[in-house]
């Protein structure tokens, strides 16, 4: 396992896109923090959370989370896009071990990057706000967790669909188009039978992790009847686990 982890770590470090994606995430979040802090003089906990998590639940998905998911998609998808799966598997032929290494390295990277990002965002708010926001707030923990889950599901989709474009499409279209559509449609009276479905929309449920009030999607969550933060997180985590299991099973079974 140590060899596979070392391999993945060097793979990640020797890719320019890793630096671009992580750099953009950090800069963008600091910019949001500066903007929010400079505009709002007397912040509510909601605003504080939004400032330190790059927008938090107010955006469809926090930008840094999406960028880290792209890092995840590249971890597995690039192998197929550039045919490096052959040298990779002739170096580390144990496929489950290789996939686990990818998940661990990308997951750990997401954890470190979001933690650093939150610290930078807090630092950016200091000149404007007297009190340091409570870093142990559940929203912040939820934010870091959300980033790790997105990054990991990125690796899983890249592997499952064996390429970059398909995985990126799923990662972007599923939460921002498909789930949003189902979510909105559930407001149509004739379609209110969709409400129980909405609770189990995985990415929508995941967004509850960064919701300051424990409710995502503009406070409308309770109307639709979303689960609260941790049960919703569990819905998303189960979804991520299922995609991971499918990815590793097919990886072991199929031709490389």
């Amino acid at each position: 396992m140590a060899d596979a982890l070392r391999f993945e770590w060097v793979r990640l470090r020797t890719l320019r896109s890793t630096y671009w994606l992580i750099g953009s995430a950090l800069v963008l979040n600091v910019a949001i923090a500066l903007l929010v802090a400079s505009l709002v003089a007397d912040p509510t906990p909601d605003v504080v959370a939004a400032a330190v998590t790059g927008g938090g639940a107010n955006t469809p998905v926090p930008m840094a989370v999406v960028l880290l998911a792209v890092v995840g998609v590249f971890a597995s998808g690039h192998e197929y896009r550039y045919g490096t799966i052959q040298p990779t598997l002739t170096t580390v032929p144990q496929r489950a071990r290789l996939f686990t290494a990818k998940v661990l390295v990308v997951g750990a990277t997401a954890l470190v990057v979001t933690t650093v990002s939150v610290l930078l965002d807090v630092a950016a708010t200091l000149p404007f706000w007297a009190d340091t926001p409570a870093l142990t707030g559940v929203t912040v923990i939820g934010y870091v967790l959300l980033a790790v889950l997105w990054a990991v599901v990125g690796v899983a989709f890249g592997q499952l669909l064996r390429g970059v474009p398909g995985a990126l499409t799923v990662i972007l279209v599923m939460p921002m188009v498909v789930e949003q559509l189902i979510f909105r449609l559930s407001y149509v009276p004739a379609l209110d039978w969709l409400h129980p479905v909405v609770k189990f929309l995985p990415f929508t449920a995941g967004m509850q992790l960064v919701s300051a009030a424990g409710e995502a999607s503009g406070g409308l969550a309770s109307e639709v009847g979303l689960f609260s933060r941790w049960p919703s997180a569990a819905v998303f985590a189960v979804f991520v686990a299922a995609v991971l299991a499918a990815a590793v099973t097919l990886f072991r079974r199929r031709d490389a």
């Binding site: 060899d3 391999f7 020797t14 550039y82 040298p87 170096t91 032929p93 199929r254």
Partner: protein
């Protein structure tokens, strides 16, 4: 020593590799020859556990996926451009070294050895096919393995590069390594290989010495023209192992007898000759004969 037994792979109804068994011995360069689409790459992918199929391949008695550090025992390159376009050649090899417990210093050694040290820090997206092949060979040699498996390594090399590759592979084999290298060009294999495994349409056609392949599949024929060709044809057909085919323009193509024999037969029968010319089938023709129609050969081999 590589021992492949009953390798097989089918895609739906199409059989890509049909029950191939062969042995690749150390100390020799073994060529894996077959026309494009004969199943060479698929066979190599089966050997390296990249593709799922029938049979098994043992490297000194062990399956590939069981090896702890396969790169240190088997250097394999199947695709000429299997690297990320913006990861430098050096970083590509460092990544593979990191996964195999190979010291990073070895990376610069192999880049130097294959002659691309000066572009080691460049992005390989601008590499020519020849440079990509050299990077591939560097990758194969990274772990100083006892076995090399290379798919079409001479593809894209200039004549100078092909001779260099031949010398490298021969030197590696002379050190006691097992070298298994594929090609669809017999001329390359004549230069490089001691032994041949020849496949066509996924099936085994020949396995053995290069010379044996050449003598088995190369037949000289003699073109004869005579005003009394019917008489001559009858006299030649009476000889053992001689076949006579009339050509479209009234000549005779004789196989199984040389020009001297035919001249003597003509003289003995009082037949005048207008032409007597020996044509040696080229090795490429022999290759085409051998691989062009695998089923036809099977009939000859057992007949």
């Amino acid at each position: 020593m590589i021992l492949a037994t009953h390798l097989g792979k089918r895609y739906g109804a199409k059989v890509a590799v049909d029950d191939l068994s062969f042995e690749v011995r150390p100390g020799l360069v073994t060529g894996f020859l077959g026309p494009n689409g004969a199943g060479k790459s698929t066979t190599m992918r089966l050997m390296l556990d990249l593709d799922r199929g029938a049979g098994e391949t043992l490297f000194d008695g062990r399956r590939f996926a069981r090896l702890r550090h396969p790169m240190r025992e088997i250097g394999a390159v199947l695709e000429a451009r299997a690297f990320h376009p913006t990861r430098t050649a050096r970083n590509h090899l460092r990544m593979l070294a990191a996964g195999s417990g190979i010291p990073a210093s070895r990376v610069d050694e192999v880049l130097e050895f294959v002659g691309i040290a000066d572009v080691a820090r460049r992005k390989p997206k601008g590499f020519s096919l020849g440079m990509a092949q050299r990077l591939g060979l560097a990758q194969a040699l990274l772990g100083d393995p006892g076995t090399l498996i290379l798919d079409e390594p001479a593809n894209g090399l200039d004549p100078h590069g092909i001779h260099w590759l031949r010398d490298v592979l021969r030197a590696l084999a002379a050190e006691g390594r097992t070298v298994f290298v594929s090609s669809h060009l017999l001329s390359e294999m004549e230069l490089m290989a001691d032994e041949l495994v020849v496949v066509g349409r996924g099936s085994m056609i020949y396995s053995g010495k290069v010379d044996g392949f050449v003598s088995e599949f190369t037949r000289s024929t003699v073109l004869v023209r005579s005003p009394e060709s019917a008489v001559l044809a009858a006299a030649l057909r009476a000889l053992d192992g001689v076949s006579v085919e009339p050509t479209d323009d009234g000549g005779l193509r004789v196989a199984g007898a040389d020009a001297v024999t035919i001249g003597d037969v003509a003289f003995d029968n009082g037949v005048r000759l207008h032409e007597l010319a020996t044509t040696t089938a080229s090795l490429e023709t022999a290759f085409m004969t051998a691989t062009g129609d695998a089923s036809e050969y099977v009939a000859v081999a057992h007949g």
